[in-house]
Symmetry: C2
DNA sequence: TAGAGTGTGTAGTACTTACTCAACATATGT
DNA sequence: ACATATGTTGAGTAAGTACTACACACTCTA
Protein backbone atom coordinates (compact mmCIF):
# COMPACT_ATOMS: atom_id res chain seq x y z
CA UNK A 1 0.00 0.00 0.00
CA UNK A 2 2.30 2.74 1.23
CA UNK A 3 5.59 3.43 -0.53
CA UNK A 4 7.18 4.38 2.73
CA UNK A 5 9.06 1.15 3.29
CA UNK A 6 10.06 0.72 -0.30
CA UNK A 7 11.37 4.24 -0.50
CA UNK A 8 13.38 3.88 2.66
CA UNK A 9 14.86 0.58 1.64
CA UNK A 10 15.91 1.85 -1.74
CA UNK A 11 17.57 4.89 -0.30
CA UNK A 12 19.24 2.88 2.44
CA UNK A 13 20.59 0.33 0.00
CA UNK A 14 21.79 3.03 -2.34
CA UNK A 15 23.72 4.69 0.48
CA UNK A 16 24.92 1.32 1.66
CA UNK A 17 26.68 0.74 -1.61
CA UNK A 18 28.16 4.21 -1.54
CA UNK A 19 30.44 3.27 1.30
CA UNK A 20 28.15 3.96 4.25
CA UNK A 21 27.56 0.62 5.93
CA UNK A 22 23.84 1.06 6.25
CA UNK A 23 22.77 -2.53 6.69
CA UNK A 24 19.28 -3.17 8.01
CA UNK A 25 20.73 -4.48 11.22
CA UNK A 26 23.00 -1.50 11.64
CA UNK A 27 20.16 0.95 11.09
CA UNK A 28 17.83 -0.95 13.39
CA UNK A 29 20.44 -0.69 16.12
CA UNK A 30 20.94 3.01 15.47
CA UNK A 31 17.28 3.83 15.77
CA UNK A 32 16.78 1.36 18.58
CA UNK A 33 14.39 -1.22 17.21
CA UNK A 34 14.34 -4.90 16.48
CA UNK A 35 15.79 -5.82 13.07
CA UNK A 36 12.80 -7.97 12.27
CA UNK A 37 10.54 -5.00 12.86
CA UNK A 38 12.47 -2.81 10.46
CA UNK A 39 12.55 -5.60 7.91
CA UNK A 40 8.77 -5.80 7.94
CA UNK A 41 8.40 -2.06 7.72
CA UNK A 42 10.69 -1.89 4.71
CA UNK A 43 8.74 -4.55 2.91
CA UNK A 44 5.39 -3.05 3.80
CA UNK A 45 4.38 -6.01 5.95
CA UNK A 46 3.99 -3.61 8.86
CA UNK A 47 2.71 -0.08 8.73
CA UNK A 48 5.22 2.75 9.08
CA UNK A 49 6.40 3.29 12.66
CA UNK A 50 5.86 6.17 15.06
CA UNK A 51 6.80 9.75 14.27
CA UNK A 52 9.89 9.59 16.46
CA UNK A 53 11.28 6.62 14.61
CA UNK A 54 10.47 8.11 11.24
CA UNK A 55 12.43 11.22 12.11
CA UNK A 56 15.43 9.12 13.12
CA UNK A 57 15.12 7.16 9.93
CA UNK A 58 15.00 10.36 7.90
CA UNK A 59 18.20 11.59 9.51
CA UNK A 60 19.98 8.36 8.78
CA UNK A 61 19.19 8.32 5.09
CA UNK A 62 19.55 12.08 4.94
CA UNK A 63 16.02 12.79 3.85
CA UNK A 64 13.71 15.67 4.75
CA UNK A 65 11.60 14.58 7.70
CA UNK A 66 8.42 16.14 6.37
CA UNK A 67 8.80 14.17 3.17
CA UNK A 68 9.33 10.86 4.91
CA UNK A 69 6.51 11.56 7.33
CA UNK A 70 4.24 12.36 4.41
CA UNK A 71 5.10 9.05 2.79
CA UNK A 72 4.05 7.46 6.07
CA UNK A 73 0.77 9.34 5.89
CA UNK A 74 1.62 11.64 8.74
CA UNK A 75 2.14 15.31 9.39
CA UNK A 76 4.87 16.44 11.77
CA UNK A 77 3.58 17.18 15.25
CA UNK A 78 5.29 20.54 15.40
CA UNK A 79 3.19 21.64 12.44
CA UNK A 80 0.17 20.34 14.31
CA UNK A 81 0.98 22.49 17.28
CA UNK A 82 1.37 25.58 15.17
CA UNK A 83 -1.92 25.01 13.39
CA UNK A 84 -3.82 24.22 16.56
CA UNK A 85 -2.88 27.53 18.09
CA UNK A 86 -4.71 29.39 15.32
CA UNK A 87 -6.93 26.80 13.69
CA UNK A 88 -9.23 29.13 11.82
CA UNK A 89 -6.50 31.23 10.28
CA UNK A 90 -4.29 28.34 9.23
CA UNK A 91 -7.27 26.29 8.16
CA UNK A 92 -8.34 29.05 5.83
CA UNK A 93 -4.88 29.65 4.44
CA UNK A 94 -4.07 26.01 3.79
CA UNK A 95 -7.39 25.27 2.14
CA UNK A 96 -6.96 28.27 -0.06
CA UNK A 97 -3.58 27.04 -1.17
CA UNK A 98 -4.86 23.57 -1.93
CA UNK A 99 -4.83 24.00 -5.68
CA UNK A 100 -2.27 26.74 -5.95
CA UNK A 101 0.74 25.91 -8.10
CA UNK A 102 4.01 25.16 -6.34
CA UNK A 103 5.64 28.38 -7.42
CA UNK A 104 2.79 30.46 -6.03
CA UNK A 105 3.28 28.88 -2.61
CA UNK A 106 6.99 29.18 -2.95
CA UNK A 107 6.78 32.86 -3.63
CA UNK A 108 4.62 33.23 -0.54
CA UNK A 109 7.33 31.52 1.44
CA UNK A 110 9.89 33.96 0.13
CA UNK A 111 7.62 36.90 0.69
CA UNK A 112 7.13 35.88 4.30
CA UNK A 113 10.85 35.37 4.67
CA UNK A 114 11.44 39.01 3.91
CA UNK A 115 8.36 40.10 5.80
CA UNK A 116 8.91 42.74 8.44
CA UNK A 117 6.46 42.70 11.28
CA UNK B 1 -7.09 18.67 31.11
CA UNK B 2 -8.63 19.63 27.78
CA UNK B 3 -11.23 22.37 27.63
CA UNK B 4 -13.00 20.60 24.84
CA UNK B 5 -15.79 19.13 26.91
CA UNK B 6 -16.26 22.17 29.06
CA UNK B 7 -16.45 24.42 26.04
CA UNK B 8 -18.98 22.22 24.32
CA UNK B 9 -21.16 21.89 27.39
CA UNK B 10 -21.23 25.61 27.97
CA UNK B 11 -22.16 26.37 24.42
CA UNK B 12 -24.76 23.61 24.34
CA UNK B 13 -26.38 24.79 27.56
CA UNK B 14 -26.36 28.37 26.40
CA UNK B 15 -28.15 27.42 23.22
CA UNK B 16 -30.44 25.14 25.17
CA UNK B 17 -31.75 28.06 27.16
CA UNK B 18 -32.16 30.13 24.04
CA UNK B 19 -35.03 28.00 22.92
CA UNK B 20 -33.19 25.24 21.08
CA UNK B 21 -33.85 22.04 22.98
CA UNK B 22 -30.25 20.91 23.06
CA UNK B 23 -30.33 18.49 25.95
CA UNK B 24 -27.44 16.11 26.35
CA UNK B 25 -29.73 13.24 25.46
CA UNK B 26 -31.06 14.98 22.37
CA UNK B 27 -27.59 15.80 21.12
CA UNK B 28 -26.32 12.30 21.82
CA UNK B 29 -29.15 10.93 19.73
CA UNK B 30 -28.46 13.40 16.94
CA UNK B 31 -24.82 12.49 16.68
CA UNK B 32 -25.49 8.83 17.27
CA UNK B 33 -23.76 8.02 20.54
CA UNK B 34 -24.67 6.81 23.97
CA UNK B 35 -25.74 9.62 26.37
CA UNK B 36 -23.39 8.36 29.04
CA UNK B 37 -20.52 8.68 26.62
CA UNK B 38 -21.31 12.27 25.78
CA UNK B 39 -21.77 13.06 29.45
CA UNK B 40 -18.28 11.84 30.20
CA UNK B 41 -16.81 13.71 27.29
CA UNK B 42 -18.43 16.93 28.40
CA UNK B 43 -17.05 16.56 31.89
CA UNK B 44 -13.60 15.59 30.67
CA UNK B 45 -13.84 12.08 32.12
CA UNK B 46 -13.28 10.71 28.64
CA UNK B 47 -11.02 12.16 25.98
CA UNK B 48 -12.63 13.97 23.06
CA UNK B 49 -14.18 11.62 20.51
CA UNK B 50 -13.25 10.90 16.91
CA UNK B 51 -12.99 13.56 14.24
CA UNK B 52 -16.32 12.58 12.70
CA UNK B 53 -18.16 13.08 15.95
CA UNK B 54 -16.42 16.34 16.66
CA UNK B 55 -17.53 17.69 13.31
CA UNK B 56 -21.13 16.70 14.02
CA UNK B 57 -20.87 18.32 17.43
CA UNK B 58 -19.50 21.50 15.89
CA UNK B 59 -22.43 21.68 13.50
CA UNK B 60 -24.93 21.25 16.28
CA UNK B 61 -23.60 24.05 18.44
CA UNK B 62 -22.84 26.10 15.35
CA UNK B 63 -19.12 26.32 15.92
CA UNK B 64 -16.25 26.31 13.42
CA UNK B 65 -15.05 22.73 13.05
CA UNK B 66 -11.38 23.67 12.99
CA UNK B 67 -11.77 25.45 16.30
CA UNK B 68 -13.51 22.56 18.01
CA UNK B 69 -11.04 20.08 16.55
CA UNK B 70 -8.20 22.21 17.84
CA UNK B 71 -9.71 22.20 21.31
CA UNK B 72 -9.72 18.44 21.00
CA UNK B 73 -6.04 18.52 20.08
CA UNK B 74 -6.65 17.53 16.49
CA UNK B 75 -6.19 18.93 13.02
CA UNK B 76 -8.82 18.32 10.38
CA UNK B 77 -7.96 15.45 8.09
CA UNK B 78 -8.62 17.46 4.96
CA UNK B 79 -5.82 19.81 5.99
CA UNK B 80 -3.66 16.76 6.53
CA UNK B 81 -4.27 15.60 3.03
CA UNK B 82 -3.41 18.97 1.55
CA UNK B 83 -0.18 19.20 3.53
CA UNK B 84 0.87 15.64 2.75
CA UNK B 85 0.70 16.28 -0.95
CA UNK B 86 3.40 18.93 -0.69
CA UNK B 87 5.01 18.37 2.69
CA UNK B 88 8.15 20.38 2.15
CA UNK B 89 6.43 23.46 0.82
CA UNK B 90 3.69 23.57 3.41
CA UNK B 91 6.08 22.61 6.16
CA UNK B 92 8.26 25.55 5.32
CA UNK B 93 5.39 27.98 5.02
CA UNK B 94 3.68 26.99 8.24
CA UNK B 95 6.87 27.02 10.28
CA UNK B 96 7.67 30.44 8.93
CA UNK B 97 4.30 31.72 10.01
CA UNK B 98 4.64 30.28 13.49
CA UNK B 99 5.35 33.61 15.17
CA UNK B 100 3.75 35.90 12.64
CA UNK B 101 1.01 38.12 14.01
CA UNK B 102 -2.58 37.25 13.14
CA UNK B 103 -3.02 40.18 10.83
CA UNK B 104 0.05 39.22 8.82
CA UNK B 105 -1.41 35.78 8.18
CA UNK B 106 -4.78 37.27 7.54
CA UNK B 107 -3.41 39.58 4.90
CA UNK B 108 -1.76 36.58 3.27
CA UNK B 109 -5.13 34.89 3.16
CA UNK B 110 -6.64 37.88 1.48
CA UNK B 111 -3.75 38.20 -0.89
CA UNK B 112 -4.15 34.61 -1.94
CA UNK B 113 -7.87 35.09 -2.30
CA UNK B 114 -7.28 37.68 -4.99
CA UNK B 115 -4.32 35.80 -6.41
CA UNK B 116 -4.47 35.05 -10.11
CA UNK B 117 -2.41 32.11 -11.20
C1' DT C 1 -48.11 9.80 41.75
C1' DA C 2 -46.87 8.25 37.55
C1' DG C 3 -44.45 9.12 33.48
C1' DA C 4 -41.19 11.57 30.74
C1' DG C 5 -37.08 13.75 30.36
C1' DT C 6 -32.57 14.83 32.24
C1' DG C 7 -27.79 13.72 33.50
C1' DT C 8 -24.42 10.13 35.74
C1' DG C 9 -21.70 5.75 37.28
C1' DT C 10 -19.80 1.20 36.53
C1' DA C 11 -18.41 -2.23 33.70
C1' DG C 12 -17.00 -4.14 29.66
C1' DT C 13 -15.19 -4.60 24.81
C1' DA C 14 -13.53 -4.64 19.88
C1' DC C 15 -10.04 -2.62 17.34
C1' DT C 16 -5.72 -0.49 16.40
C1' DT C 17 -0.89 0.98 17.27
C1' DA C 18 3.59 0.08 17.99
C1' DC C 19 6.25 -2.60 18.93
C1' DT C 20 9.55 -7.25 21.16
C1' DC C 21 11.69 -11.87 21.17
C1' DA C 22 13.80 -15.72 19.48
C1' DA C 23 14.67 -18.77 15.96
C1' DC C 24 15.80 -19.43 11.20
C1' DA C 25 18.12 -19.08 6.48
C1' DT C 26 21.42 -17.43 3.51
C1' DA C 27 25.54 -15.19 1.98
C1' DT C 28 30.52 -13.45 2.88
C1' DG C 29 35.00 -13.43 4.37
C1' DT C 30 39.21 -16.13 6.53
C1' DA D 1 34.68 -25.45 7.74
C1' DC D 2 33.57 -21.74 10.85
C1' DA D 3 32.37 -17.39 12.46
C1' DT D 4 30.11 -13.35 11.36
C1' DA D 5 26.89 -10.53 9.19
C1' DT D 6 22.67 -10.09 6.84
C1' DG D 7 17.79 -10.29 6.17
C1' DT D 8 13.35 -12.91 7.44
C1' DT D 9 9.55 -15.42 9.95
C1' DG D 10 5.98 -16.33 13.30
C1' DA D 11 4.13 -15.56 17.46
C1' DG D 12 2.99 -12.65 21.07
C1' DT D 13 1.79 -8.34 23.74
C1' DA D 14 1.07 -3.90 26.42
C1' DA D 15 -1.14 0.27 25.97
C1' DG D 16 -4.17 3.27 23.82
C1' DT D 17 -8.63 4.60 21.12
C1' DA D 18 -13.31 4.82 20.71
C1' DC D 19 -16.76 3.53 22.01
C1' DT D 20 -21.64 0.47 24.06
C1' DA D 21 -25.02 -1.25 27.52
C1' DC D 22 -27.67 -0.36 31.12
C1' DA D 23 -29.03 0.57 35.63
C1' DC D 24 -29.42 4.55 38.72
C1' DA D 25 -31.02 9.15 40.50
C1' DC D 26 -33.14 13.39 40.15
C1' DT D 27 -36.60 16.90 38.50
C1' DC D 28 -40.62 18.56 36.43
C1' DT D 29 -45.13 18.39 34.67
C1' DA D 30 -49.97 16.43 33.90
Amino acid sequence: MSDFGKYFREKREALSKKGKGLSLRYVSKEIGVDPGYLSKIERGVFAPPSENLIIKMAEIIDEDKDVLLALAGKVSSDLHIIIKKRPKLFGQLIRQLKDAPDNAIFSLVREVQDGDW
